[in-house]
């Protein structure tokens, strides 16, 4: 039974940052991930990371932009912490070796990003997430004596003690199929978002909402689960991401008539309005017949100087060439809004603590909430690092403070039995996992997307509940132990269905339009009734609803214009 003071689940930016921060406090740390850490989805963050570090910029300005971007659903105490601590974090990363872009003086240079009142996005070409994550992984290799890495281990359940505190996790070593109970004085979930619940999505295949579902199953509160970001520039079909950095560098959005339509929706910020605004504008153009026949509009990057494109948008040149057959330096590329980011998640305080003692959450899996109804571009990397670090430090402090407890008996055996039962399902006993997953994704993309209304969400919820039943008999082909990805896919399907159910319930409940939740049957923001978080907790018949206050420190809600 491997034991650590602090155990981190997930090894993207939040997880790696948490592990390093905990190890700095001198406690023993394990970091565990279902993929090799450098395969984590933080890789896909292209554009950059926000911080008010330039002379003349201020954390207050960054904080206000974030509050406004969140459509006033973000908690302002958490946003203040994140924006205040951002500059120091950027410098820390720079000192560790991140190859941030430099200006002519050799100092850190910035680019413009959506929803921001100043150019405060620090970046490495358009591989910022990858560049930071690989540098953090370098640090994990450097600190291998204090941080044990468990690469390609899959988590099936959190382990609780008799007092209801989290004290470990049940895992499966993917390489040989063996099951292990890990114990720890604190467990930090940093396992990312749930984009795979939607099809298509910009998210990687691993983004199946594992942590959200595991926390929900042991009774942790989830928050703002209806807030799902659709990114304005994704490729039709596959859903691949075109960075907001393209618009930051000056690219235009055009409808099929060649009109720069953002002039009508956001006359001041144009293409750099916040993401929910731009996605709605695009979807409106498409729905009203001004898009292209394939349900897209165009992103014109040819207006950006070619040298600059090669230097700063290299990845997008490759994505255009390899996945759309388009040379973006010579012609516009067709894009549409696509599922991108989970603003909601496990409810935490500013130290990453959930309402279950011993259980922490950081990064996309968590909802602090700094993003509220809509996340600003280049704030997600910041969220992962700031709250990853804070979680790691607080979890280490807890580990030093408490004695540690033992999981209630039978948790490992129960998980083993549940996997044996999946493997034992007879071929032909039910649908294939892949079929159920596809139906789930298409349903969610149809009804719980940019525009939503009651009947559609209700239909999605009913479908999800039917699929939950069907998933119980979905069979797997692989009966073996070594790299049995089939059985893991069946478990992930269960995680995704829990995520989907929570999102549908919350989206039905919020009868207003705020941020990413746009209800065509309630098209206005309604602060009087809905300036509050929707919390969900597992009950006997699905998620049970409650509400919590939005923390407002210095920015009273006002009308949101870009």
């Amino acid at each position: 039974m491997p034991t650590h003071d602090v155990l981190v689940i997930g090894a993207g930016l939040a997880g790696q940052r948490a592990a390093l921060a905990a190890a700095e406090q001198g406690v023993s740390v394990g970091i565990l991930s279902k993929v090799h850490p450098v395969r984590s989805h933080s890789n896909a963050a292209q554009g950059g990371i926000n911080a008010a570090l330039n002379p003349g910029d201020s954390w207050e300005s960054h904080a206000f932009d974030t509050v406004k971007g969140s459509d006033y659903l973000g908690d302002q105490d958490a946003i203040e912490i994140m924006t205040r601590e951002a500059p120091e974090e950027i410098l820390h990363l720079e000192h560790l070796g991140v190859t941030f872009h430099r200006n002519e003086e050799g100092r850190l240079g910035t680019r413009a990003f959506g929803g921001a009142s100043a150019a405060r996005t620090y970046y490495v070409a358009d591989i910022t997430g990858q560049a930071i994550m690989h540098v953090l992984y370098e640090q994990l290799m450097k600190h291998s004596e204090t941080v044990a890495r468990y690469e390609e281990w899959f988590c099936t359940a959190l382990a609780m003690d008799e007092q209801g505190e989290c004290c470990g996790v049940v895992t499966r070593n993917i390489a040989d199929g063996s099951m292990q109970l890990f114990t720890a004085k604190a467990v930090i979930l940093a396992s990312g978002g749930n984009g795979q619940v939607w099809q298509p999505t910009t998210n990687a295949l691993i983004c199946t909402g594992d942590g959200i579902a595991m926390a929900y199953r042991v009774g942790a509160k989830l928050m703002d689960m209806e807030m799902i970001q659709y990114h304005p520039t994704t490729l039709a079909g596959k859903g691949f991401l075109i960075t907001e950095g393209a618009r930051g560098e000056g690219a235009h959005l055009l409808n099929a008539k060649g009109e720069r339509f953002m002039e009508r929706y956001a006359p001041n910020k144009l293409e750099l309005a916040s993401r929910d605004v731009v996605s709605r504008a695009e979807q409106t153009e498409i729905d009203e017949g001004r898009g292209f026949p394939d349900g897209t509009v165009a992103l014109d990057i040819t207006v950006v100087p070619k040298k600059r494109v090669h230097e700063a948008l290299r990845e997008i040149v490759l994505v255009g060439r390899d996945f759309a057959g388009v040379d973006i330096t010579r012609e516009p590329i067709r894009i549409k809004p696509g599922n991108h980011y989970t603003m909601g998640g496990i409810k935490t305080d500013v130290e990453g603590r959930t309402d279950i003692p011993g259980l922490y959450a950081a990064g996309e899996v968590a909802c602090v909430s700094v993003h509220g109804g809509n996340r600003l571009g280049a704030n997600s990397l910041l969220d992962t690092l700031i709250f990853g670090r804070r979680s790691g430090a607080d979890a280490a402090a807890r580990a030093k403070r408490i004695e540690g407890s033992r999981p209630a008996p039978g948790v490992l055996e129960a998980e083993e039995a549940s996997i044996d039962a999946i493997v034992a399902r007879e071929k032909g006993s039910g649908r294939r996992v892949s079929e159920i997953k596809r139906e789930l994704g298409e349903t969610m993309d149809k009804h719980v997307a940019v525009f939503r209304e009651e009947a559609g969400i209700q239909e999605a919820l009913e479908t999800v509940r039917r699929l939950k039943e069907e998933a119980k008999s979905a069979y797997v082909d692989d009966k073996g132990s070594v790299f049995n990805q089939d059985v893991l896919a069946a478990i992930e399907l269960g995680y995704m269905l829990d995520n989907a159910e929570c999102t549908c319930v919350a989206a039905l409940e919020r009868k207003e339009s705020r941020g990413a939740q746009y209800r065509t049957d309630f098209p206005e923001r309604n602060d009087a009734e809905w300036l509050k978080h929707i919390d969900l907790q597992r009950g006997d018949d699905g998620p049970e609803l409650s509400y919590s206050e939005v923390t407002i420190t210095q920015w009273e809600p006002e009308e949101r214009k870009y």
């Binding site: 410098l91 070796g97 560049a131």
Partner: protein, 393 residues
């Protein structure tokens, strides 16, 4: 939509059976990827088909494998292209893929019914189907190069102030996603499994080229003096072809060699001096003076000084059998003409033209770094833009 056949090399470790081939038919658009094809086969036909994958967009580096014998990312290889490559490789004459549009026009050399061949990566042990053990090979080699920044002293209060070009320069190695395609393709590693290899050496350049790193000299000595280090690369370009992110690992190795040369580290293969001997000789004489090439390579400038180093004498002596074979087979001129000093000059003013070419090259020293230069052959970004680095030799 068209039907493609994937011929997958499978290995099920728990079956007790040897690896075998299995064909899967998949129905997908030609613009979709080989990974999409594998996943369709896995979803529809056999969930036990094991493959690492995640992002589907050539970012995460999970799905390194061989497609038609070439190491690559399956998500970055289109089915249509792979189909044509399979048939060029097979050389067969045959119809377009079943179900293809009527307008389908194969490339002149394409056609054929050869399946798209999918195999696990090379130079790494296979665990199951398309999954290889990268930990004991690739990652072990990465850890070999001390893969973290080693600055001296306390960090500055703000950021390190560095030349902006230097950050763009090492961003090419930072673009590496650790997919292992270069390792899989490396011919030197096939011959010498201990070779540090293209990925780890590209990673090493990321620190050697970083002005914030204070151990550049130590790193260069370490990588040069290891018999499986930078001089173990045979310059075959396989890794450059295989790399899905244009990291050009071999270029990074050549940059390490050049920096090692600048550091005064002796190249055991003498490659650096050999190149310099050629360059100087052509500049001076226009053609290769075989009589001087070897001695200039091993002991530059000894003519007239007669003070060759021990290494030079040893090198010269060891080269003798090669020289004799070259004369015997007509690859070098016969003995009387090999007497130093009688090498013919270029006619007319041709030597001045050669010198002009050198001067031009000197003025337009360029580094092929895609973050600076764009694609090869991209005219608008062509030779007029100067950078501070020279093209690796």
């Amino acid at each position: 939509m068209a039907t493609y056949t994937l011929k997958v090399r499978r290995f099920q470790p728990e079956s007790g059976e040897a690896p075998y081939w299995e064909e899967f038919d998949v129905d997908l658009d030609p613009s979709l990827s080989v990974l999409d094809g594998i996943l369709q086969a896995k979803d529809r036909d056999d969930g036990s088909l094991a493959v690492r994958c995640s992002c589907r967009a050539a970012i995460c580096g999970s799905c390194g494998m061989k497609v038609n014998g070439s190491s690559t990312l399956a998500c970055k290889t289109q089915l249509g292209e792979a189909h044509e490559a399979a048939n060029r490789r097979g050389g067969a004459e045959a119809p377009p893929p079943r179900g293809a549009d009527e307008e389908y026009e194969p490339e002149p050399s394409a056609g054929g019914v050869n399946p798209i061949v999918v195999e696990p990566m090379g130079n790494m042990p296979v665990i199951k189907d398309l999954i290889v053990d990268m930990e004991s090979t690739h990652w072990e080699k990465i850890r070999r190069v001390t893969p973290w920044l080693l600055p001296h002293g306390e960090p500055p209060e703000r950021e390190y102030v560095v030349d902006p070009e230097s950050m763009i320069d090492i961003t090419q190695s930072m673009a590496c996603i650790q997919c292992g395609a270069c390792v899989s393709s490396c011919l030197s590693m096939e011959a010498d499994p201990d070779f540090i290899g293209p990925a780890a050496l590209a990673k090493a350049y990321r620190f050697v080229g970083d002005p914030r790193d204070a151990e550049t000299k130590e790193r260069l000595h370490d990588l040069a003096e290891d018999p499986h280090g930078i001089y173990d690369c045979t310059h075959c370009f396989s890794c450059i072809d295989a790399c899905p992110k244009d990291v050009a690992p071999m270029d990074q190795i050549m940059r390490l060699r050049r920096k090692a040369g600048e550091e005064g580290i002796e190249d055991p293969n003498n490659g650096h001096n050999h190149v310099n001997a050629f360059v100087k000789m052509i500049e001076k004489k226009g053609t290769n003076d075989e009589a001087l090439l070897i001695q200039e390579s091993y002991a530059p400038g000894i003519k007239g000084k007669l003070k060759p180093s021990k290494g030079a004498i040893k090198g010269l002596a060891e080269s003798l059998p090669t020289v004799l074979r070259a004369i015997k087979t007509g690859k070098a001129r016969s003995l009387p003409k090999l007497i130093p000093g009688i090498h013919p000059k270029l006619p007319g003013g041709a030597q001045d033209e050669v010198k002009a070419i050198y001067a031009h090259a000197e003025e337009h020293r360029e580094e092929l770094n895609l973050y600076i230069k764009g694609e090869e052959g991209d005219e608008e970004l062509g030779a007029s833009e100067e950078t501070t680095e020279e093209r690796p030799q």
